[in-house]
């Protein structure tokens, strides 16, 4: 099922099957060049597969943007231990909803991506870790996997290539933290979802203490396209240091929110105005989050001339992240935005390390009080100060993810905080609107 | 000659000045205290015999943290702690002093215990008549030092062990 009308500006490489009748079935998949890439990869040497992925400039789509080919090359192929393929489908980043449409509309693409990754690192088993809230997707994936087993695309000696591969789905239990790769592995092993100390990285010591390739759903989904048409063709779609397209989730105050597959380097202005159909009721842009709530917030001025790629966002001291674009118009209360974000992180902090566990809750409490009109001038500095002291000091990136947007909001929209002090309560809050923060 | 006149006036002035003090003091209230016929008066800050305070509910403020005993330079405070239970609730905290003794043979009234107390349980009262011919009477027990239960407060819950709490 599709949730939005496709846009003519999209470059549909991963999503070209979306909208086809029965797009999730094996028949449709095979009829549309499905498993072509796997057949090709099965005839290649593992190094050649990895080389193609490297050439494609594919960077991890989960948020950190680590080059995928390089990640795969870290896996010790010769290790006597079994190797595993793990798919991070714990898509919980606020503003992000791309993996869900990928799995729902084209599950076989993900299966094929896993198979190719398996060939590349000599893995014979894979796990798809799906967030607990995506229960219906587990059914979709299980159905696709069962179909693949039935038709010989999974299991022993796949299509006579001599390659064995088993694929399983695993349900998360609704923790954002388990989207962090090492916490995901802990959870997959049946333990409490808390991050691990790194190094060693999962490529060397991952699931069940064995070498593991762990990538985002979208990353795996891009792999068949790379192998099918060659890494260079994929690379050419994007910008020099990052190849291909990005499933971009346009959310917030745009007229046509939805998931659009855009080339990397797509101009932000065009994305909002043309793909997203402009901001609701013709209002102006106030704040822009490029890749999920963990990224520092950009002001309208800062996003002028920006393009949707890693470097452009890094220049603006933000991140492309997972592609979960959040657009806020001028009617948005930024204190409330900060509070909403912090409520999420305080709720999702796993409790492992002190700055994150205590910091997020403390910030949530201050912001709640502040937004309700009980703030003081010193609170504004305190919010920034606490965020700065979480930044870079927590065990895993969740603390940074909570600190960065808060810090950017309090620095860039300080005036609004001051306004809250003067015009208590929230000047943007209109009667009848939700005050549940 | 003028010297003599000056002398007379000088002496007269001195007498007048001296008598001035006398007359002034005759007018002002007396400071002499008729102790022991009348009770002695004290400045607020006078450090006399200790009083163990209660809170508004009549609970003992002392939670037997031993900080007074630790602070005491004369080592004159002896405490045994016990835990408040459902049936026996003596203090506001989890713990109370089952035994609280101050040895006035040794106490130097320095006030360190009062300073150390985190719950303001021990204070200096104005009691000063602690002298005795028998040193064994100088060890004051908790019961000797406790402030009275404030009027209207419910007394500490003390029910027979195992029985329900008194209401």
């Amino acid at each position: 099922m599709l949730y939005n009308e496709p846009s003519p500006l999209e470059t549909r490489v991963l999503s070209f099957r979306f909208g086809l009748p029965n797009s999730a079935t094996l028949d449709t998949y095979l009829a549309t060049r499905g498993y072509e890439a796997f057949r090709k990869a099965a005839g290649m040497k593992p190094e050649e597969i990895i080389e193609q992925v490297k050439i494609s400039n594919l960077r991890g789509r989960g948020g950190a943007g680590f080059p995928t080919g390089m990640k795969w090359s870290f896996v010790p192929r010769t290790s006597p231990k079994p190797k595993y393929i793990v798919v991070n489908a714990d898509e919980s980043e606020p503003g992000t909803c791309k993996d869900r449409v990928l799995m729902e509309n084209d599950p076989h693409q993900l299966i094929e991506g896993c198979l190719i990754a398996g060939l590349a690192v000599d893995a014979h088993a894979g796990y798809i870790y799906i967030r607990g809230e995506y229960r219906y997707l587990i059914e979709v994936m299980d159905k696709a996997i069962a179909e693949a087993y039935e038709k010989g695309w999974l299991g022993k000696n796949i299509q006579g290539t001599g390659f064995d591969f088993d694929l399983y789905t695993h349900s998360g239990a609704g923790a954002y933290e388990c989207g962090e790769e090492s916490a995901l592995l802990e959870s997959l092993e049946g333990k409490r979802g808390i991050p691990r100390i790194r190094p060693p990285f999962p490529a060397v010591v991952g699931a069940f203490q064995c070498p593991t390739v762990l990538n985002n759903v979208e990353t795996y989904c891009a792999v068949p396209a790379i192998l099918r048409d060659g890494g260079a063709a994929f690379a050419a779609l994007g910008v020099p240091k990052a190849g291909g397209t990005k499933m971009t989730c346009l959310t917030g105050h745009v007229n046509k929110p939805g998931v659009y597959e855009l080339r990397l380097g797509f101009p932000v202005k065009q994305m909002i105005e043309e793909v997203g159909g402009g901001i609701r009721q013709g209002r102006k842009l106030k704040a822009f989050i490029p890749g999920g709530s963990s990224c520092p917030v950009l002001t309208a001025k800062e996003v002028e001339g920006a393009t949707m790629d890693y470097d452009s966002m890094a220049q603006r001291k933000s991140m492309l992240g997972s592609g979960g674009v959040i657009i806020m118009d001028e009617e948005t209360c930024m204190v409330k935005a900060a509070l909403r974000i912090m409520r999420f992180y305080a709720h999702e902090s796993c409790g492992w390390c002190i700055p994150c566990r205590e910091g997020t809750t403390w910030l949530r409490k201050i912001l709640t009080r502040f937004h309700a009109g009980g703030g003081t001038r010193s609170d504004i500095d305190l919010i920034g100060d606490l965020s700065r002291n979480m930044l870079g000091r927590t065990f895993c990136p969740l603390g940074d993810a909570a600190a960065m947007p808060t810090l950017s909001i309090v620095e860039k929209f300080r005036g609004e905080f001051e306004d809250h002090l003067n015009g208590k309560p929230c000047p943007f809050e209109r009667a009848g609107e939700m005050v549940t923060a | 000659m003028p010297n003599k006149i000056e002398d007379v006036f000088g002496v007269a002035a001195a007498i007048a000045k001296g008598m001035g003090v006398t007359f002034k003091e005759m007018m002002s209230p007396t400071v002499t205290e008729y102790y022991p016929d009348e009770p002695a008066k004290f400045e607020e800050r006078y450090r006399g015999a200790h009083v163990l305070q209660r809170d508004a509910n009549g609970m003992e403020k002392c939670v037997a943290c031993f900080l007074c005993a630790a602070a005491c330079p004369a080592d004159c405070i002896y405490i045994e702690a016990a835990e408040n239970t459902e049936t026996v609730r003596i203090s506001g905290g989890e713990r109370y002093a089952r035994v609280y003794n101050i040895d006035y043979n040794r106490c130097i009234f320095c006030g360190y215990c009062v300073e150390a107390c985190p719950t303001d349980a021990i204070t200096h009262g104005h009691g000063f008549e602690v002298a005795s011919f028998n040193t064994s009477t100088l060890i004051k027990r908790k019961e000797d030092m406790l402030a009275p239960i404030p009027p209207g407060a419910k007394p500490p819950v003390i029910a027979p062990a195992g029985g329900p709490a008194a209401h």
Binding site: S349, R357, W362, G392 | A64, G93
Partner: protein, 689 residues
């Protein structure tokens, strides 16, 4: 030895072995890096973020507890950034920490207090409401106050890794995260209390010590646990002649941080209401309280009379009394009473082991060997229940050195979890199982063999033959039950030429039977049921009115191990010194009682002074293997004895049938265990019976 890594910490040149963590390297150089979650020997956590330090060429601050040293590394631990980070971490920690230090049992020895004092901010900017949850009781000995918890997860790790129990876990998440027991609302575990000891704050507190006193109010006396034969040091907190708590936070003694429920809590038998506090003499068929002088005179006069009449004496010694007392008792029996009828309840065949190893040196393993040697073979015993320290050592050896553990036991044991081979055997099947393992054992570089009373007499010889045939260095531990079982044997509480054994003495028509700290009439294992006394005069020295004491003519109240000085020898033959912690009114140390009896008999001259130090000096001179370095044991250490290096023959030949272990579990300890409130209060104790 690999080359040392050179690095700089705070301008100090430091050398450390590769793989050393920066936090440890700094400690060696005398630089303190604060940490809550880091705990030597447990898995790394990096959760508390207190140990963040600046490292040159690293973009952000690193946790010193996870960072291994590297050549040329430059670490700074006292920069403004580091100091600020520590201050903020503490501020974060204190946001939800109740400041109830005055009533908190940890107040005064709390790591959080210390850290805030040293690194923290005096004032908090936190003005919001704190998270509060009510206190919970996990078990009679473990209480948990969640708001105080700083979630360092030390308790979870020590329980899982150190004890191999894994009874604690974490529930909920974020700021609501909470330590939870394995059975939802209560714990079912070893009840060892290691979680309480390791807790840096007052979140986990002891049900026994709870609200009793403050840490600085106690004197701390290093005693040796009087329950099982492992010889753990337990540091007793004493106030006003009362033992208030036992722990081993200073990690002194052979047990390091380890203590089981018995060592930590089961000192409480000493003030049991049934404790004897006055001598009893049977008058008109009833035991009546009398004065010490009357009781001593009664015994001395009767003993003298029997001596004059040429009657026979039987003497039964104890597994709990000190070496000095056992030595003095033997000397008393041999020289004053002139009797060869001496024995005690034997729980392991050490004699046979020493005999089998005659001519060889350095073959008796110590407690430390179980941690350091590369392979351990456990035969018969369920160590986690019966010898928890040895089990702990083996577990630690596996965790830290990946030691190979072999368990050949009748039932499932805790070692199974990590043993390279677990074999279940029926009695009599041991040697077949050993032959099956021979090839694998041969491949080990070295081995420690631990066996219990499944191996007796000829079996021990056969086991040693097996061990010697492996062609690798093998050391042995013969398990014995009680705190001085080994010492009783070493001090010679065994029959002399023509002497009767324990069972024979009970059945014989003796003129007098003298039982010191034992309860043979309870029906000692190997001896049928509760026996009626045959001896015409029965003198018993004990703490309680046991089945034996009830039948006595004279009962003399004895002091417990915590009420006297002396030395004891543990199951691995290591000698440690007892220090008197308290006095119990009316009771006297057995040595003193024996000395007084000797004096009243007019025989004291032959025995010498009944002063522990003097007797021990004589032991060092005369008992083989006890010539141990005094500084070692006088400074609280344990000195291994070197047993007899020659054939040991027992008068009358070996009697393996008399050797039987009581196999006391974690919640039982012979007669003493019956009088411990704690051992009887915990749920597991009732289940374990």
């Amino acid at each position: 030895m690999p080359d040392l890594v050179k690095l700089t910490i705070d301008g100090k040149a430091v050398q450390a072995a590769p793989g050393t963590l920066v936090i440890d390297a700094a400690k060696m150089a005398g630089i303190e890096i604060p940490a809550f979650c880091y705990y030597e020997g447990l898995t790394l956590q990096a959760a508390c973020r207190m140990c963040l330090v600046e490292v040159e060429k690293m973009p952000k601050m690193m946790t010193a507890c996870t960072l291994p040293v590297a050549e040329g590394m430059v670490v700074r631990t006292e920069t403004p950034q580091v100091a600020q980070a520590r201050k903020y971490t503490l501020e974060f920690l204190l946001t939800n920490h109740p400041l109830d230090c005055p009533v908190c049992d940890k107040g005064g020895e709390c790591e959080l207090q210390d850290m805030v004092f040293r690194y923290g901010a005096g004032e908090s900017r936190y003005t919001e409401e704190k998270v509060h949850t009510p206190e919970k009781q996990f078990s009679p000995v473990v209480f948990f106050d969640a708001p105080r918890c700083i979630l360092c997860f030390r308790c979870v790790r020590i329980c899982n890794e150190g004890m191999g129990v894994g009874a604690l876990g974490v529930i909920y998440r974020g700021v609501l995260s909470e330590i939870a027991p394995n059975h939802g609302d209560h714990l079912e575990c070893d009840e060892c209390g290691a979680c309480i000891d390791i807790c840096p704050v007052g979140a986990l507190t002891s049900g026994i010590y709870r609200y009793q006193t403050r840490p600085w109010e106690m004197q701390h006396v290093g005693a040796i646990c009087t329950h099982c034969g492992d010889g753990c040091k337990t540091t007793l907190g004493v106030r006003n002649n009362r033992i208030i708590r036992g722990n081993n936070r200073d990690h002194s003694g052979i047990n390091g941080e380890f203590l089981c429920i018995k060592g930590r809590y089961a000192f409480d038998f000493y003030d049991h209401p049934e404790r004897l506090q006055a001598p009893l003499v049977r008058k008109n068929g009833k035991l009546e309280e009398v004065s010490w002088s009357e009781a001593l005179d009664t015994v001395a006069n009767r003993f003298n009379q029997i001596r004059a009449d040429g009657g026979t004496f039987g003497v039964i010694g104890s597994n709990h009394t000190t070496n000095e007392e056992n030595f003095y008792l033997r000397k008393f029996a041999r020289e004053v009473l002139a009797t060869p009828h001496i024995d005690h309840h034997r729980t392991g065949d050490v004699t046979a082991l020493v005999d089998a190893l005659s001519g060889k040196t350095g073959r008796m393993a110590t407690v430390a060997d179980l941690y350091n040697r590369k392979a351990v073979l456990v035969l018969g015993a369920d160590l986690a229940r019966e010898h928890p320290l040895l089990s702990f050592q083996i577990r630690a050896n596996y965790r830290h050195h990946q030691a190979h553990v072999y368990a050949v036991t009748p039932g499932p044991v805790r070692e199974d979890k990590y043993a390279v081979a677990s074999v279940r055997v029926a009695s009599g099947g041991y040697f077949a199982a050993l032959e099956d393992l021979r090839a694998r054992l041969k491949a080990e570089p070295e081995l420690v063999i631990v066996f219990d009373d499944s191996f007796k007499g000829p079996d021990v010889h056969r086991l040693v033959e097996f061990g010697e045939s492996l062609g690798i260095p093998v050391r042995y531990i013969c398990l014995v039950d009680y705190s001085n079982s080994r010492g009783a044997l070493d001090m010679g509480l065994v029959p002399g030429e023509g002497g009767m054994r324990l069972d024979e003495m009970l059945a014989a028509d003796l003129s007098a039977l003298w039982v010191v700290g034992a309860n043979p009439f309870k029906g000692t294992p190997g001896v049928p049921g509760s026996v009626a006394r045959k001896a015409r005069f029965l003198v018993v020295q004990d703490l309680f009115l046991t089945e034996t004491a009830e039948q006595a003519d004279v009962v003399l109240p004895a002091a417990s191990a915590y009420e006297k000085s002396g030395t004891v020898t543990n199951t691995t033959g290591e000698v440690q010194r007892l220090k008197r912690a308290i006095n119990t009114m009316g009771a006297k140390p057995d040595l003193e009682i024996m000395g007084f009896i000797a004096r009243q008999m007019g025989a004291a001259g032959a025995l010498g002074p009944w002063v522990p130090e003097t007797v021990f000096a004589e032991i060092r001179r005369t008992v083989h293997g006890y010539d141990i370095p005094l500084p070692e044991i006088d400074t609280g250490g344990a000195a291994p004895t070197t047993p007899v290096n020659g054939r040991v023959t027992e008068a009358g030949g070996p009697r393996p049938d008399l050797i039987r272990s009581d196999h006391n579990g974690l919640f039982a300890s012979g007669t003493l265990g019956r009088y411990s409130k704690v051992l009887n209060s915990v749920l597991e104790g009732r289940l374990d019976r």
